[in-house]
Amino acid sequence: MAKATPKNSFESSLQRLEKIVETLEEGNTTLDDSLTLYEEGVEISQACMEKLSQAELKLKRITKKLDGSFELFDEKLNENE
């Protein structure tokens, strides 16, 4: 058995969206239910699109302190190296 990997929010959002479209396509829902699903779908895709429009990548450097805890610092790569 492959080890299970916990899904992060972006991945599960997209999966939920896919499921919503599938359910709508099957056409077995009442108009009321399908509108509720549709609304949820719009909300999810808006959140995803917001995330996608984040323009700049974050680069951090991690170091381990003597007490075993971790610290993150902003990292800039020297382009001339």
């Binding site: 995330k51 990548l57 680069l59």
Partner: protein
């Protein structure tokens, strides 16, 4: 120098102290064997806790003690093992306290590619039979990682390539670099420790472990057993990215996914955000289309119900749907540059068409529906003088009597 002239009395011979003699031998021997290279097989290899390495070099006929001080073995690209054929460079030195000579070694290399290959094959076979390359053990690489951990050198080309490609493909990612040495004797230890530390930290979705191309010796840290076991034990999925396309390391066999180069790892680890945009757009467009169809069908059902007069107050429900539809239109407009213009347009025209089908709108324009005895009157012939009928206006109904 030794006075051994025939006939000299034993008691009259020059007598050395042990130290004196040893010093003489040392000063005679050492200058003759400076900076020499000797080839032999390693045996009795020992790493002292101080970090110094002790070993013997041997061939079929002789044996030579060797030592490599800690300060010198830091740049060693591999872990020496008994049976390895090596070329050792150094000076012969005499250790006075033991009266023995040894090779004070400052450079140790595996004797040729064949030997490296043999060490590689041995370890590969061992780890394979232990199940470290087992496909069933491999973890799934997440499709949309939000945080990516990288174990590589902070100054190498690898990290720059990875950052550049991920910035282009999926910029809403966070990259966390764990800087390590990627060659030299301590490299394996640092790489393995970084992998274990990331597992303790436990806040990244996937790890990329690697370095850019180099000689077989440069890549050797990724062929170590310690790195292999750290990768195997990791609960975070790992992509290996070592060297060039053609280089295969032990790390590649254990990793959950092998990328041929660090750049390729960056391409594999995140999707292209354009593709994700399209996925989202398609999802919204399809659900939009389906919803509009549903609403249109409902309109039609209501419309035919109204015509048949079996349905008395359909308009409340209808209005609710229209209102919801309006709300969605507003939501869609907020999707600014990424809004789905064409769908919005079709939604608008569809709304207009639906509104024109609305029977209430027809009544509002001055038309009325006449019915008598529960049936719609669609022809004058249906009514006679003094019959009563019901006239439905948009805002109510009246009863009339036919006068002629």
């Amino acid at each position: 120098m030794l006075n051994q002239t025939e006939g000299t009395n034993f008691h009259e011979r020059r007598v050395f102290s042990v130290s004196e003699l040893t010093r003489k031998i040392k000063s005679f021997l050492e200058p003759k064997f400076e900076d020499i290279t000797v080839e032999g097989e390693i045996s009795n290899f020992k790493r002292h806790t101080s970090g110094h390495l002790y070993f013997s070099l041997k061939d079929s006929g002789a044996q030579l003690s060797g030592v490599m001080w800690r300060s010198r073995n830091a740049s060693l690209g591999f872990l020496p093992q008994d049976g390895m054929l090596v070329k050792a460079r150094g000076n012969i030195s005499l250790y006075e306290a033991r009266g023995s000579y040894q090779l004070d070694c400052y450079e140790l290399k595996l004797a040729g590619e064949g030997e490296l290959q043999r060490a590689f094959e041995q370890l590969k076979q061992k780890l394979f039979s232990e199940g470290l390359f087992d496909e069933n053990h491999k973890r799934k690489i997440p499709l949309y990682p939000e945080r990516i951990g990288i174990v590589t050198s902070p100054t190498g080309a690898a990290i720059r390539d990875i950052v550049q490609i991920i910035s282009r493909r999926f910029p809403s990612t966070e990259i966390i670099l764990f800087p390590v040495l990627v060659q030299g004797e301590n490299a394996s230890k640092e790489i393995a420790q970084a992998i274990r530390d990331f597992n303790v930290f436990n806040k990244v979705d996937v790890l990329i472990v690697g370095r850019g191309g180099g000689s077989l010796e440069d890549l050797w840290a990724f062929n170590s057993e310690e790195v292999a076991r750290a990768i195997y034990d990791s609960t975070i999925p790992i992509i290996s990215a070592v060297g060039h396309e053609i280089d295969f390391t032990i790390a590649d066999f254990v990793a959950d996914l092998r990328a041929p180069t660090p750049s390729a790892a960056a391409e594999l680890v995140v999707p292209n955000s354009i593709d994700v945009w399209n996925t989202l757009r398609t999802a919204i467009e399809s659900s939009h289309r389906i919803i509009l169809e549903n609403i249109r069908n409902s309109f039609q059902q209501i419309h035919s119900s109204v015509r048949s007069y079996a349905f008395h107050r359909p308009f409340d429900t209808l209005r609710q749907y229209i209102q919801k539809l309006d709300e969605h239109q507003t939501t869609l407009q907020r999707m600014s540059e990424y809004s789905i213009q064409s769908t919005k347009n079709s939604l608008e025209s569809l709304s207009l068409r639906l509104a024109s089908l609305n029977p209430q709108a027809v009544l509002r324009r001055g038309y009325a529906i006449v019915s008598a005895k529960g049936k719609t009157v669609s022809s004058a012939q249906q009514l006679r003088k003094s019959d009563t009928a019901e006239v439905q206006f948009h805002n109510g109904k009246i009863f009339v009597e036919v006068v002629g």
